[in-house]
Symmetry: C2
Subunit: 144 residues, 2 copies
Amino acid sequence: MTQRDDSVGIIQQELTAFARRARATAARMHPELSLVSYTLLAHLEDQKGCRATDLAAHYLLDKSTVSRQISALEKLGFVERRVDPDDHRVQVLHPTELGAQVLASAGAQRRQAFTDRLADWDDADLERFASYLLRYNEAQQRLG
Amino acid sequence: MTQRDDSVGIIQQELTAFARRARATAARMHPELSLVSYTLLAHLEDQKGCRATDLAAHYLLDKSTVSRQISALEKLGFVERRVDPDDHRVQVLHPTELGAQVLASAGAQRRQAFTDRLADWDDADLERFASYLLRYNEAQQRLG
DNA sequence: TCCTGCTGGTTGCATAGTACAACCTTAGTT
DNA sequence: AACTAAGGTTGTACTATGCAACCAGCAGGA
């Protein structure tokens, strides 16, 4: 067992531990907006509106899952649907004013939690950690 | 928005993206053993047996959740219960021979996937990434 | 024009994972 | 003996998810 293998083992173990906790932690932080809802809503804001199909493709979710998530967000008044005049099959989804507010609030809370956890890191370490995560996720997407 | 804030933002985003994918990815890799089951079974092996309560405490799960997970693992023949002779309330849980085999196989598959994703990293980066994850998770546990 | 096939979305069904509360059994204390 | 605490199980409910069946609108070709 080389030192390299040790590192891989630790990375596996720690990422797994993180994944196991993530949903529950997010739910505790802002019960109003689950991890998934938060992500979808954030994407809508980022993209200035998109279709349910785009969300499904981007997050590797089934379209039925997205459909239900969006219904829930709509029921909460966080999302509105605008039928595309050029293609009546399509609904372009947008955050509502309220949705944007809730998103901003949840985002601030999330960001604060991360900032706290990373408070005693120096800038160089933070930047390197960020670049490692980007690199890792890029590889994961590439390799499935 | 400082460069530091950017780094925090990226870390948040990438860890979130990872968490969103983790369960589904794990499920695709070895349908026999979900992420949670895998983790519980691995803990049993690590600890050379422990109680359901210990698992619940360690993974911040409700004891009912653990109870059901263990029932499922037992039904699959991966776990056996041994009543503690000193305290008949207690069941000490152990992986069975079969459970250990499945665990080893799933573990090898998981490890291989990580090894592939990290194939083109040099040793120093791997070691640093591993240490960052340890540090991050330690802080998360400390801060809740 | 009409049939066929494709695309975007919804709905019915099934499953996993989870929590909470009520409960049972066994230990330990007073 | 009576009470309390600890380890587990079970009933109930809810969220997230996928698959399959379906509907509706669009686009192309015979």
